[in-house]
Amino acid sequence: ADQMSVVLDWFVNPDHGPIIVAQENGYFAEQGLEVEVIAPADPSDPPKLAAAGKADLAISYQPQLHLQVAEGLPLKRVGTLVATPLNCLLTLEDGPVQSIADLAGRKIGFSIAGVEEALLGAMLQPAGIGLDDVELVNVNWSLSPALMSGQVDAVIGAFRNFELNQMEIEGIAGRCLYPEEHGVPAYDELIYVANPDTMDADQIARFLAATEKATQYIVNHPDESWKIFAATSAELDDALNAMAWQDTLPRFALRPSALDEGRYARFETFLHDRGLVPTVRPVSDLAVTVAQ
């Protein structure tokens, strides 16, 4: 079998369902692949390692990809894992912020990922609020605790499939304000990236085929697939992941290798308008499709 290494974006969690299920159900083996799954602690490392040729494939975020390519990293999206945004602007259900307009003059926490300010700026704009009208605080590691304890009135960068459930478990109701409903072009939250110069397209195509099969299995058998996932490791088998699994399920890319060029073009333009990338690159610089 061909050896292949995949660096996840963070520790294993339900976002990685298709990869884990493909591994557990032997779909990689069917494709003649022996996949090593590596879970890092810092989401900014995987694309660097893939670009450096230290991994065959890495999981990253579409917004990050635009920035990385602009900075000259030899990287291209080769597949999609989660095909909708997961990011959301999280507030308290019964808090003072009921709509975007209520954010004026309030504290918003964020955890640096690179594009949060741009997303926030775009979301605030329709309500006539500028970034200067809110106080941005980097809360780094404690997004939901900062919100729940009332130190900030909203946080951006929370994942809708996790943080909402976390708050529910703590007995505090949260509200998600979805970026794609407030002026931000829709994008793929989790994507597969590889170094276009060194990648083995055939291997990647087989990898994506296996995850596609796994995604279908998950959609068809949500409960069995959860059991398979939860059985892989003791620390994954908990209430939060069970809830998150259900919430993530409809967001997995059903066609992982399919590329929506328009999405990438729109987001590149969006980032350029927001001043985060210096030039608008063609989609071919950002993403490719690999076919078997």
């Binding site: 963070w10 520790f11 294993v12 969690n13 590596i38 879970a39 890092p40 602690a41 810092d42 900014s44 490392d45 660097k48 390692l49 450096a52 230290k54 590691w141 404690s142 939901s144 605790p145 729940m148 304890s149 996790f162 943080e163 976390q166 478990i169 703590e170 003791a234 620390e235 908990d238 939060l240 992941n241």
Partner: protein, 248 residues
Amino acid sequence: MKYLLPAALILCLWQSVVWVTDVPAFILPPPAKVAVTLWGNRALLAEHAIVTLSEVMIGLLLGAILGMVTALGLAMAPRLDRWLKPVLVLSQSIPVFVLAPILTLWFGYGLWSKIMMALLIIYFPVTSAFHDALVATPPAWLRQAEVMGGTRWRVLWFLRVPAALPGLMSGLRLAAVYAPIGAIIGEWVGASRGLGYLMLLSNGRAKTGLMFAAVLVVAVMTILLHAVVNRLACKIENKSRGQAEPSL
């Protein structure tokens, strides 16, 4: 034993902080809740603790050895000192997330990149304290050794090193305290096992109870390690000063 009382003190302190400041449980859970989580996840914690403990041990061992060797080298070559000290100092000022990709690039995703990180943290206090002590040998002893015709290396080994042992011990005490947190930080370089991984995971998933249970395990590990090293250090210090062991 004699650790029970301080432990009780810490728990009381913790509980009263929770009561007095009314801090929410998802930020600082009360001891009782952590204890329940700890007990409920004892198998999980034990499994990850073993991984961390082995990193701690390897890191401490390598860090101590490397620190001692560096301090000896610097003591033997005061010119090198001038060149190497800034490099050492600099190495301590680089944050882990800057080093992480470099370490994984060079050492892979296995145990070694974590141990290298832990080592970098443990290494410095040992080097620094031992070196400070090595260059402080009483000049009269050095003069006497010179008159006796001692060779540089043997003077180092039979005179300067024994005289500097209290300093080394001071450094090792610090190293014992930093070794567990060093291994935890090492696990931030990328790991799927170990208490550091478990903490980051629980933190990312707001499982504060489990996170604090892991912190508690690390804390106990640190205190025990410090106690063991402290005991050894006291013996060696007394020997170096020619003092009797305390009669207890």
